[in-house]
């Protein structure tokens, strides 16, 4: 539901991922991390929910 609400507010679906990995599932961990990094790289750096640093004149 949290993911749904973020997407409702306009956050990219591929920005946030959930997984359930046991400490014994090292292969699954590597797979999931690789998949997530690929997906997040594909949509590029986050522009949303980022606070721009105050501009100092």
């Amino acid at each position: 539901m949290m993911k749904n609400l973020l997407e409702f507010m306009g956050v990219e679906p591929d920005r946030i991922h959930f997984s359930w990995i046991s400490s014994a599932e090292s292969t699954k961990f590597v797979e999931v991390v690789n998949k997530i990094t690929a997906k997040v790289k594909a949509i590029g750096p986050n522009q949303r929910f980022v606070k721009q640093a105050a501009k100092v004149a």
């Binding site: 539901m1 609400l5 409702f8 507010m9 306009g10 929910f49």
Partner: protein, 315 residues
């Protein structure tokens, strides 16, 4: 609905005289038209302050939190659902309460009336479905349906879900309404449009937190927005901080919100932040077949595990 007033006064007086309750929570006339305010009556002779009409949109469950007295409380459909939620969350005990049910035909939206009239509003009276507004410029009449709060016009729980007494016979429930049409309209937008929509919606927010304070669900002693160690969210007007506040405020209400409308009603700049809680309500209904506050016997959706809970978001 203004015809309820006499019965309410009698009921409150009787409960106080018989010492069944120590106080009665209801409404009295506010200092300006359409601004009835909550009031706590402790003496039988003060029961005559109580009034009821279509300006009682504030959610009275908000005034129950952590009280220890024996309390009589007037409850519309939505208030009663928030009372149930309060009982489930241990904020008040069922046996402390005498719930006096008030079948509700909807509350009027003061902003709609202000937008449709000119000059200062001097008096607003109602007769059945006709609302008469007297302003400095003259008199104008409205059908109640035209000026009703949006949440009331799509409400499907007008009658109290729990009650010990009733002020009047139940009113017919609305069945041909689609409570989530506005959420579906946003769902249909693409990502960019949705982001921009909420930018616009939340832009006027002044971080006054009236929406939070009006909500019976927001009873934490220190709200996350007020904490400074750690500071979860910036306290200023930065658009991202405003958005974070609204996202989290809504999310804290997930599976608990009754769409009573108290938050939107309280907002001084008229933001419809209910869209966020409604999205969660819609998801709760679709994913868990859950609507908040309908029964004392069921645990809330986000508070219980079921083997068939949706889990396709977990990769």
């Amino acid at each position: 609905m203004s015809t309820y007033t006499d019965t309410m006064r009698e009921t409150a007086r009787r409960l106080l005289q018989e010492c069944k309750v120590e106080l009665v929570i209801g409404f009295r006339r506010g200092s300006r038209p359409m601004m009835n305010e909550p009031c706590l009556v402790r003496k039988p002779e003060d029961a005559d302050q109580l009034v009821w009409d279509s300006n009682c949109g504030i959610n009275l469950a908000n005034y129950l939190t952590n009280r220890k007295e024996k309390i009589g409380i007037f409850a519309k459909g939505c208030d009663s659902r928030n009372i149930v939620t309060h009982i489930l969350e241990n904020k008040v005990q069922r046996d402390q309460l005498t719930v006096i049910g008030v079948p509700c035909l909807g509350m009027i939206d003061k902003r709609k009336i202000a937008a449709a009239t000119e000059g200062e509003i001097l008096e607003v009276t109602e007769n059945g479905d006709t609302i008469t507004v007297k302003t400095a410029a003259g008199e104008k009449q409205f059908a109640k349906a035209e000026v009703m709060q949006q949440n009331c016009s799509v409400c499907t729980h007008r009658n109290p879900v729990i009650h010990d007494e009733m002020i009047a016979d139940p009113v017919p429930e609305q069945t041909d309404v689609d409570p989530y049409a506005d959420v579906a309209a946003i769902d249909a937008m693409d990502l960019e449009e949705r982001w921009a929509y909420f930018d616009d919606l939340l832009d006027p927010c002044i971080r006054c937190y009236a929406c939070r304070n009006a909500c019976p669900l927001c009873y934490c002693p220190t709200c996350f927005v007020d904490e400074s160690k750690p500071q979860w969210v910036g306290k200023g007007q930065d658009a991202m901080d405003v958005r974070t506040f609204h996202f989290l405020r809504a999310y804290h209400c997930a599976g608990r919100c009754t769409d009573c409308g108290a938050c939107e009603r309280a907002c001084p700049v008229g933001i419809n932040m209910r869209l966020l809680t409604k999205k969660l309500n819609k998801d709760c209904k679709e994913l868990y077949d859950w609507e908040a506050g309908l029964s004392l016997d069921k645990r809330p959706a986000l508070d219980s595990y079921q083997a068939n809970d949706p889990e396709n978001f977990i990769k």
